[in-house]
Symmetry: D4
C-alpha cells in the first residue's frame, strides 16, 4: 500500500531542508498555509511563497518588511505580487492556479479603538477579505468616548462576527459584546506605554471580560483573528 | 417622552441596592444574564435567581457551592431547582415562563485533555446545552498520546465548533485546530503544578498557537467558552 | 529650647514598644491615623484604638475581623464601639472628645461594577462618610450592560468626585471618566479568577485608561480611595 | 427627531476613516481631546491637530517627536505652532478660535525626585498650565536627602494639589502625602535600571504607600497626572 | 594520608540519611549552622537540634511552630529549651558545651516600619543578640510620619549597622541610609495586600533605593539580616 | 482492514467517559502510564489503577493522598497495594501480570540540597527504582557547605546519570555538572519562602546554569526526572 | 606537597586578569571549555580562543558575531578558523593538537518546529557534531500539521536522544516524547511575538509537558542541549 | 534664628532649577554625592560635576558615556578629568579642594563570575578605591569550575568584605559566603540570555541563598556595592 505524502520539503542554498509545505492544509483547514515572514530571511520567504503559488491562487506572507517584498517580487516574477504596507502583508496572486469562486457569506466588522491600532486592524481586515469574507471597517471608536461606539450599533448588529482591536486598557470588546449577540474576537495590541507592558494590559482585560461571547487571540495577532472569523463566517469549510 | 428602563434594582436586607437585573440582555445578546455565584452570598444568589425566574425560563448560577444551592432551593421553592455538582452549576427552571422552542443547530464538541479537567469541561458542556445547542463530550484525549485524538478525527469533523479544554501544557487546541476547519475555542485550566502557575502555562500556549482559528478564554472559564460557542452555533441570535 | 514631641510610644505586655501614635497627623493631614487591623493582634488593635480615642472623636480600624471587634469592645468599654461588617470596619466614637462640627461639602459618588465588589465599595463609602463627606452609592453598574451606567449619568454629574470600584476587567472608571469632568478614583478589586491574577487585570486596565482624569489606588483599597476623595472634596483641610 | 452627531470622522489619503474627533469632549469633560502622538504618523497627527484647531483654541499633542512637529507646523501654517522639547509637547494656538477667559484657581505644585525625571515632570507642568491652572515646579528633591523636601514644606502647604514625579524607588509621594492634607498625584517614571523594571518598582511603591491621599497614574504619564490635577483644581468644569 | 571529615550524616527512622551536620561551619563562618524549621518535620528538627547541642552552646531553629518546639523540648530534655514566640525561634542552650566569652562589639539598631512587621524584626533582633551583638529596637517608625524617624536620628548615629525592616512600600531603609553613614541592611516584609504581592513591592523599593549603602535580603528574612549584621559588627570572626 | 484501537475508555458512575487508558504506551515509550492523582477523585484513581493492573505488573499513582490510598486499597483488593508516604506514591503490584525480568543497568544517583527537599527526592528515587534502575541517595548536600558535595565526588563519578534536587537558590546541579561528565537532571523544588516564589528562583537558576549538561524539569517534578533518568539509563527501551 | 594548579589566568592589555582557563574541564567533564562570545570583546574572544587551541584540538565560540570572527581569524592565524554563520559559531581547529579518534556512538536527531528556529537548531546540531556525535536534522515539523512529525516516526525511533527545538507554543517535544522511548531535550526559542514573551511561552509549555522523559534547557540554548545530548549519547566520557 | 540651608539649587539654560546639590551629604553619609549620568544630558552632568568640584576633592559620575566625558572635560577644564572606560566612570579631581588624608583600612576583594561581568566589577572596584579602600580583584572564578574559587580561599580570607559579582545563575556569592566569615555583597548582573531575564535569575538566586551573611544590591549596581562595602570597611565614617 502506497504511503501518502503530506508535506513537501524545501531546500535552502546549502542543501539543508529548512521548510516543509503542508500539502493537505487547504483540504483539512479550509485555507492554504500563510507564511509568517518575521524571523525568516527574504530568500526563505520568497522561496516558500513561489512554491506555494504553484498549488494555490492566493498566497499571503504576514509581518513582512520591504526587504521581504522585494525578494518575493524578484523571485516570483511570473505571478502578481502586491505589498499592503499598513497591513504589512505580501500577496501573491498565482498565475497558474485560477481564483476560486467565492460565495459571499455574512459580514465581518473590524472595529478598532484608536488610530495607532491601524496596522493590526488592517492585518485582520485584509486577511479576512483574502480568505473570502465581506468586511467593513469601523476605526477609532475607543471607549473613552462611548458614544462613538453607540452611534454605530446598527452596523454592529449586521455582522455575523465582530473583530474588536484595542490597545491601552482594551475595553472595546467588552463594550461590543454587551451590545450584540454575535461572537466577538478580541485582539489586544501593543499600543500603549508603561504599565501596558507591550499589550499585557489589554490582553488581561479581554480575558477577564465580564461580557460573554468573547474569544481572545495573541497580542497584535490580526491574522489569527481573521482566520478565526473566517472559520465562523464560512461554515462550508468544515463540510 | 417616556424614558426607557433598562435595569431593575434589587435591594438587600439593609436596603442597599446591591444588584441590578439587566432587563434587555436576552433581547440584545441572545440569552438572559447568568449569575456568577462565587463572591456572592447565598442570600444574594437566591434573591437574584428567583427574580430572574420571573422573566426567563432557564436561570443558571455558575461556580456555585452546596450552600448557594440550598439557599436557592429554599427561596425559589415554586420553581424546579437542580444542582449539577461536577459542573458546579445551579439550574432554576421557571414555573411561570414557558420553555422556548429550540431549533437544534450544529454540533458542539467539548474535548478535554485529562480527567482532572472535568469540572471545567462540564461547565462548558452543560451551559452550551442549556443555551440550546447539541453537545458531544470527548474527554481525556491529551496530546501525550496523540493517537487518542487522531482516533476521533471523524467526530471532530462533524462539529460546527470545538471547545478544547486543557491544563498543564495545553497543546490540545493546537492539535485539533490543525485537523479541522471549524472554530476552536481554547479553555486553559488551572490543572497542573509548579511552573503551570495556576493556568498561565496553558493560557500562553493557547495564545501562541501556531495553528490558526483559535479563540482563547480565561483560565477555567468553561462558561465563557459555552457562550462563545453558542453565539457561533446559533446565528439566529443576531437576527 | 524645648524639643517638640511628635509621636507617642505604646508598649506591649512584654515592654517592647510596638506602636507609636502620630500625634500631629490630624493637624498635618486633616484626619487622625486610621488603624490597619490586618496583621495586628486583637490586643494591639484594641490598645491603639483606645489610646487614639483619647485624642480624637472618631477612631476607625479597617480590615478588621470579628476577633478584633470583640477585643476593642471589651477594652474600650467607656466609648461607643460599632462593627460595620460588610465594610469590615470598627468604629470607636470617643466619649471624651466631642464630635467636630462638619460643613457638608460636595458629593462623593461610589460606583461599583458588580455585587461581589460590595465590601470594597462599602469600605470606601463608609470611610468617606466618617471623614465628613456626603456619599451616594451606585452599585452593580458594570460595563457589560453599558446602559446601566448611562441611566445614571445625571447622578454622576452632580458629584464633586467619583470613586469607581471594579474587579474582573475593570473598565468602569474609564467609562465614567469619559462621561463627566470631575476626578475619578479607580479602585481595582480582587474579584475574579484565573487571569485576573487577584486584581492585577483591573489594576492594569485602570492605569492604562485612555480616558484622562483617573487616579488609581491599590487593589481592594477602598480606604485609600476614601482618603483621596476626602482630600479632594474638603479643601479646607489644607488651610 | 434629528439624531445628534457626537463624532467627526477623518479620512486618510487612501480614504480609510482612521480617526474620529470627539466633538462633545470639551463640554462633557472640560477640555478638548489631546492627541497622543506616539504610534501615529506625522501626517495623521498634523491632520487631526489642524482639524481640532477649528473647534478649540489650544490643541496639544503629547509624546511628539521633531518629525511630528515639522508635519504639524507645515500643515497648520495658519495657526501658531510651538514645540516644547523637554516636555515633548506640540502646542497649536488656533487663529480662528479665541482664547477662553480663565479664572486662576488654586495652585498645582509639580515636585520631582531627580534630574532625569524632568521630561515627565515638564509634561505634567506644561499640560496643567495649558489647561488653565497656576503651576509651580519643585525639582530634584528626592528622598535620599530628606531635608531637600522638608525645606520646602511651606510651598507644598500652599498647593491645592501636588503632583509628585519619581523613578527608582519612588518614595517621594509617600513623604509628601505624610506632610500635607491635599491630594497627591503620584507619577512613577521609567528612570532607573535593573530591578526598576522600567518603572514597575516606583509604580508598586506608590500603590502600596502607607500614607493616605495618593492617586497613581501610569508610568511616565505626566499628561494624565495633569488632567487629574486640573479636574481637582478647577471644579467649575463639572458645573 | 587521612581524609578529613567535614560533615556528619544523620539518619531518620527508616535509615535514610536525611541531614548532614556541617562540622566546620563555626570555624569557617563564625557561627554554627542554624536550623530552618519550616518544611522539616518536628522529629527532624528535634533530632538535628539535639545533635548540634553536642557541638555548640547555642542552637537556634527559626520559623518554628509550637509543634516543633514541643518535639525539641521532649527530645533534648537534658538541655534548656526556650520558645521565643513572636520571633518564632527555638533556642537550645547546651548543657554540655560552655557558653563562649563574648566581647561586646558595636551596636546593631533594628528599626521597623509598622506594628505588623514585629515577627520579622524580632527574628532579626533576637538572632543578632544570640550571635553576640548588642541590639536596640526602634519599632513603628514608618515614613508616612517622617518625624517619627527624625526624632531618633541620634540613636541611629550610634549604630555600627542598622537593620531596617519594612513592608508595604518599604521606603524606611532609603530614609535611614540618607541620614547616617553606616551600612543599612534592608529587610522587605510580606506585610501588605494587593499590589504588595506578598513583599515584592518593598523588595523592589529597597533594591532601587536612590540612597547608597544598602544591602537587601530576602522577603521576611530577619534571620539573614542578623547574620549579615553580625559579620559586619564582629570583624574578629574573619581573623 | 481492521482499525487498530489505541486507547480504552473508562466510564464514571454517571456514564460519562472520563478517562482513556493509553494501551500502547508501554510499547511506545518503555513504561505504562503513571496516574497523576492530584486533581482526581479517590474513586477515579482507584478505577484507573485497578484497570491498569490488568495490563501491567507495576502501577504507580503519584501525588497521592491517604484518601486516594484507601480507595485504591479497597477497590484493587486482589492486588498488593503499598503507600510510600514520604514519596506520596501508591504502588499496585498486579496479581495477574508477572513481574518483568529486569537487567540492572547503570546507576542513578539522586542528590538533594536540604532535608525539606526529601518528598521530591524520594518521588524521583522511588519512581526510578520501580522503572527498573539501581538508585543511590545522597541527601542534604547543599552548596552553602560545598565540602559536603566534594566529599562524595567519587560516588557521583560512578553514576550514569545524576538527579539533583534543590530549592531556595538551587545551585546544586551547577556544582555537580561542573564535577562530572554525565547528564545532570535538575529538579527545582518549592522549598523556600519570599523571593523563591514557590520554586521560580531555583528553576531560573537551573535554566541559567553556566555549566553544560543539565536538563531541567518542572518545579517539584521528581517523577518527571525519574522518567528522563530511566530513558537515559535504559537505552534498550528504545529498541 | 606541590599544590595542583587548576586554572590558567589570562591578562588583558591593561594587565587585569579578566579570564581564567579551566585546565581540567576536558578531563572532568568530557570536553574543553566552550567560549560564550556574547558580552565579550572581540579581543577577549580571540585571546581566549588562541590560548585554548594550545591545549585542545577543537575550540568553539558560540553566539559569535562577524566582528568576533575577524578578531579570531587575525589573532589565531596559525590555526584553521571557520565561521558557521547560521549557527553563529566560530570553530578553531588547532594546528598543534591532533584531532582525537572518535568512536561514533548513537544517533542524535535535531527536530525543529519552524523555519525561524534554524539558528538555534543549527547551534545544537553543529555543537553536537563537533563534540563527536552523529547528527540528523529534521526541520519545520511543527505541530500545527501533526502529520509532518508522524511521517518521520521511523527516523525518531532510531535516535539515542532527540533534541526538539520550538518557539511559539512549543508543543513539539511533548508530541515526540509521546511517540518514542528515548530522552527528549526540549529547547524553547524566542521565535514568536506578543504573549510568547521572548520564549517564556514555549519554556512553560515544555516544563509542564504531560509527557514524561523531557529535560528542558534555557531559551535559545542550542549549545546547552548539545552538551546534554552528548553526555547522554557518549557514556564513555564518564569513565 | 537663621534657617540652615541644606541644598544648593542649580539652574539650567532656561532658568528651571533642575538639580539641587546635597551640601551635607559628605558630613551625614561619609562621601559626597555621586552623579548618576545615565538619563542626564551631557550639559547637566558637566554643570553638576564642576559645581561639586568646588566642595569636594573627588567627584565621580557613573554610567557615563563618551559624550558625557567630553562635556565634563570641556566644562571643568580647571580640574583634572579622567574617563575610566571599562567602569564607565568619569572622575574629576578638584584643583581647589585638597585630597583628604586616608587611613587605609581593611581589604575589599571584588570577585566576579565571568569575563562579561567586567564592567560591573570594575565599577565596584574603582568606586571603592576612590572612596578610600584597598581593593583586590579576583575575576572569572565562576562556579562551573568550583576549583577556580577554592584555589583562592586564602585571598578571600584576608578580606574585610567581599563583593561577589555574577550573572547567569549567580551562585558565586553563596559559594563564597559558605567559605568565609566576612560580609558578602552580592551583585547580580544582566549578563546572560533567555530565562536570565536581564538579571532577574541571578538576583533571585542571591536573595534566596542558603548561605547566611549576604546583602544584595540592584542588578548591575557595582556602584551601590562599593558604597556598602566602604561603609562596612571604614567605620570611622560614622563617628
Amino acid at each position: 500500500m502506497e504511503k501518502k505524502i503530506h508535506s513537501l520539503p524545501l531546500e535552502g542554498d546549502d542543501g539543508t531542508i529548512d521548510a516543509r509545505i503542508d500539502l493537505d492544509r487547504e483540504q483539512r483547514c479550509g485555507f492554504t498555509e500563510v507564511i509568517y515572514a518575521a524571523g525568516k530571511t527574504p530568500e526563505q520567504v520568497a522561496r516558500i511563497a513561489c512554491e506555494l503559488a504553484l498549488y494555490t491562487h492566493t498566497v499571503l506572507a504576514t509581518r513582512a518588511s520591504e526587504k521581504h517584498y522585494r525578494a518575493v517580487r524578484n523571485t516570483c516574477d511570473e505571478h502578481t505580487v502586491i505589498f499592503h504596507e499598513t497591513a504589512r502583508i505580501i500577496e501573491v496572486a498565482s498565475s497558474v492556479v485560477p481564483a476560486p469562486t467565492i460565495d459571499e457569506d455574512g459580514l465581518i466588522v473590524v472595529a478598532s479603538g484608536g488610530t495607532a491600532d491601524l496596522p493590526v486592524a488592517e492585518e485582520a481586515a485584509l486577511t479576512a477579505e483574502k480568505m473570502g469574507s465581506r468586511v467593513m471597517r469601523l476605526y477609532d471608536v475607543g471607549v473613552a468616548g462611548v458614544h462613538r461606539v453607540l452611534e454605530h450599533e446598527d452596523l454592529l448588529r449586521q455582522a455575523r462576527v465582530v473583530i474588536a482591536v484595542a490597545g491601552m486598557e482594551g475595553a472595546l470588546p467588552t463594550l461590543i459584546a454587551g451590545l450584540v449577540a454575535v461572537p466577538v474576537i478580541a485582539v489586544p495590541t501593543s499600543v500603549g506605554y508603561g504599565a501596558s507592558f507591550a499589550g499585557i494590559a489589554p490582553l488581561l482585560t479581554m480575558l477577564n471580560s465580564c461580557a460573554g461571547g468573547i474569544g481572545v487571540v495573541n497580542i497584535d495577532n490580526g491574522f489569527g483573528a481573521a482566520v478565526l472569523a473566517s472559520r465562523i463566517n464560512r461554515p462550508k469549510w468544515s463540510e
